[in-house]
C-alpha cells in the first residue's frame, strides 16, 4: 500500500476540523443553557454560562493559533486552503455566538423575560439555536445543500424577531399604566428588545458559518467575506 504523503499535515487538518466541531458544540451548549436560563429564570444556569465563556475564548484563541500555524508551516492550497480560511472565519463567528449567549445569560440574571405575552422567546430561541446546529452539521459534513437551506431559513427568523420587537413596542404604547409604572417597565422592555436582537444575531452568525462552509466547498470568494 502506498503511504499517503504529508501524513502529519493531513492529520493536522483532520484535527482542526474535529476541534472546530468540538468548540461549536460547546458554544451550542452555552446558547441552549442561556435560553433555558431565560425561559425558566434559572439563575444558576445563567451564572454557569457567564463563567463558561472564558473556556470558549481560550478555545477560540488556541484554534486560531492552529490555523495560523498550519498556514505558516504547511502552506495549504486549493481545497485545504479554503478549509483553513473558512475555519479561521467560522471560529470568529462561534466566539461571537459565545458572547451573545453570555449576553442572554446576563439578561436572565437581570430579570424576567416574560413581560410581553405576545413574544414567544422560546420559539425564537429554538429557531436560532436550530440554525446554529444545522450550520455546524453542514460544516462538519461539508454539505452545500444544507448551507443554502440555512440561508433561506434566516428570513423567517428575521421576520419572527421583527414581529417580536413590534409586539413589545405595541404593548408599551398600549399600556395604560401610569407614568411611574411605564418607567419601571422600560428596563424590562429594553432588555427584551436586546434579547430579541441578540437571538437574531445568532441566526446571522449561523448564516455566516453556512456561507463560509459554502466557500470551502465551492470556492466562490464572495462567500468568505
Amino acid at each position: 500500500m502506498i503511504a499517503v504523503p504529508r501524513e502529519e499535515y493531513r492529520e493536522a487538518l483532520d484535527e482542526l476540523r474535529a476541534d472546530v466541531e468540538s468548540m461549536a458544540n460547546d458554544v451550542l451548549a452555552q446558547l441552549l443553557r442561556a435560553l433555558d436560563a431565560l425561559e425558566s429564570d434559572d439563575r444558576e444556569a445563567a451564572r454557569a454560562v457567564i463563567e463558561g465563556d472564558d473556556a470558549i475564548n481560550r478555545q477560540y484563541l488556541d484554534l486560531e493559533g492552529d490555523c495560523v500555524e498550519l498556514i505558516a508551516l504547511q502552506q495549504p492550497v486549493a481545497s485545504d486552503l479554503r478549509f483553513v480560511a473558512a475555519s479561521f472565519k467560522i471560529l470568529t463567528d462561534l466566539e461571537r455566538i459565545g458572547d451573545l449567549a453570555t449576553n442572554l445569560a446576563r439578561y436572565a440574571l437581570a430579570g424576567s423575560s416574560a413581560v410581553v405575552s405576545d413574544v414567544r422567546l422560546g420559539e425564537i430561541g429554538e429557531t436560532a439555536s436550530g440554525q446554529l446546529r444545522a450550520a455546524v452539521d453542514a460544516y462538519v459534513d461539508a454539505d452545500s445543500e444544507a448551507c443554502r437551506a440555512i440561508a433561506d431559513r434566516d428570513d423567517a427568523l428575521d421576520a419572527a424577531c421583527q414581529n417580536a420587537s413590534d409586539a413589545v413596542v405595541r404593548e408599551l404604547i398600549a399600556s395604560d399604566s401610569d407614568r411611574w409604572e411605564i418607567e419601571r417597565l422600560l428596563d424590562d422592555v429594553s432588555r427584551l428588545l436586546l434579547t430579541v436582537r441578540d437571538l437574531e444575531r445568532v441566526g446571522d452568525h449561523a448564516v455566516n458559518i453556512a456561507a463560509r462552509t459554502l466557500y470551502m466547498e465551492e470556492g466562490d470568494p464572495e462567500l468568505i467575506y
Binding site: P5, R6, V77, A78, S79, L81, G219, P221
Partner: protein
C-alpha cells in the same frame, strides 16, 4: 548567451499529424475544458497542438497554450511531466536534441517559429533563456554582459574595431550598466566590472545571467528553475526581479516550488505525468480553487 551562438542547421521537426494519445477521448475533453485559458493580455506566444517525442517517448501530448505578453507564466508539475520540454520548444532548444521530434505550431507574435527559414540565432535573441544553475562565462562581469550584443554585431569592441576606430566603448559601457541595473545587480558590481564573473555568489551569478540575457534586448525570457540552486535571500531577489521584468518582458518560468509559482506568476499551467497540460488558469484560481481533482491533489501535495 551561450545558447545563441550555436545555430543548428536543421530542425528535427516532423511534418506529419500529431500522434494520437493513448489516453483517449476523456483526457482530450477535460484538457480543452480546463486549459482554454483566456487572459486579458495580448497573446505573445501561441502554442497549438504541440506534440514532442524523444525517440519512442511521447514527452508532450497535444498541448495548446497561449502565453500573454508582459506577464509571468509559471509551468509546474512533477519531474518528467513535460514542462521543461514545453519551455524548450518556445525557442527551439529541443532542436539540439537529435532524437526529439516536434509537431504542432509555436507562434511568436503570430509567426511560426518552426517554419523553414527561421534564423535560430535571431529567435533565441528574441526568446532568451536562463538556466537552473547559473552559467556565467569564465570572463569578466563586463564581458559576460556584452558577449551577446558583440556576437550579434550590435556593438563593436574587438581589437580590429579598436584599430579601425569603430570600437564603441561608451555604448558598451551604457549597455552593460543598463543591463546590470535591470537585473538588479549594478549596485553590487559597479566597482568591479573587470573581475571574473565566477567570483560572484550563486545569486549574483544568476542575476548576471539574467543581465546577459537582457543585454540582447529579448522579448520573451524563459527561465528553467532559475532559483532552485539558490538560498532563500538570493531566491527572493530573483523572484522580485521576475515580477519587475514582467512589466516589460514576457516571462515564462518552470519551477518545482509551488509557492514560488504562487508568489511570482500571473497565470499557472499544470502539467502532469505523461506530458499532459491538465489545467491552465489565473494563478489564484489554480491555488485556491482548481477545476481538476488531479491538479488539486498535486498542488496540495497529495501526490507527485
Amino acid at each position: 548567451m551561450s545558447q545563441t551562438d550555436t545555430a543548428e542547421s536543421t530542425a528535427n521537426r516532423t511534418d506529419g499529424q500529431g500522434v494520437s494519445t493513448t489516453a483517449g477521448e476523456t483526457v482530450e475533453e477535460t484538457r480543452s475544458e480546463w486549459t482554454n485559458y483566456d487572459s486579458d493580455g495580448e497573446t505573445k506566444v501561441a502554442v497549438e497542438d504541440l506534440d514532442v517525442h524523444y525517440g519512442d517517448d511521447h514527452a508532450l501530448k497535444g498541448v495548446s497554450m497561449d502565453i500573454p505578453e508582459e506577464s509571468v507564466t509559471a509551468l509546474i508539475g512533477p519531474s518528467g511531466c513535460g514542462k521543461s520540454t514545453y519551455l524548450r520548444c518556445l525557442n527551439r532548444m529541443n532542436d539540439r536534441i537529435r532524437a526529439a521530434s516536434v509537431d504542432g505550431t509555436v507562434e511568436l507574435d503570430g509567426e511560426d517559429v518552426y517554419q523553414d527559414g527561421v534564423d535560430l540565432v535571431e529567435l533565441r535573441k528574441r526568446v532568451g533563456m536562463v538556466f537552473q544553475s547559473p552559467n556565467p562565462f569564465p570572463k569578466s562581469i563586463r564581458e559576460n554582459v556584452s558577449y551577446g550584443p558583440r556576437k550579434h554585431g550590435d556593438i563593436e569592441t574587438g581589437l580590429l574595431a579598436r584599430l579601425t576606430g569603430r570600437a564603441e566603448p561608451e555604448r558598451e559601457a551604457r549597455l552593460v550598466e543598463r543591463s546590470l541595473e535591470r537585473a538588479a545587480l549594478w549596485d553590487e558590481v559597479s566597482d568591479r566590472l573587470d573581475d571574473n564573473a565566477l567570483g560572484l555568489s550563486g545569486g549574483q551569478q544568476q542575476r548576471l545571467c539574467i543581465a546577459r540575457c537582457l543585454a540582447v534586448d529579448p522579448e520573451v525570457i524563459l527561465m528553467d528553475e532559475p532559483a532552485s540552486a539558490l538560498d532563500p535571500i538570493a531566491t527572493a531577489k530573483i523572484e522580485d526581479l521576475i515580477e519587475d521584468l514582467a512589466r516589460d518582458y514576457t516571462v515564462v518560468v518552470v519551477t518545482h516550488s509551488m509557492q514560488q509559482a504562487a508568489r511570482v506568476s500571473d497565470q499557472t499551467a499544470v502539467f502532469l505525468t505523461g506530458g499532459e497540460l491538465v489545467e491552465y488558469d489565473d494563478t489564484e484560481k489554480i491555488f485556491e480553487n482548481p477545476e481538476s481533482q488531479r491538479v488539486e491533489d498535486y498542488v496540495s501535495g497529495k501526490f507527485g
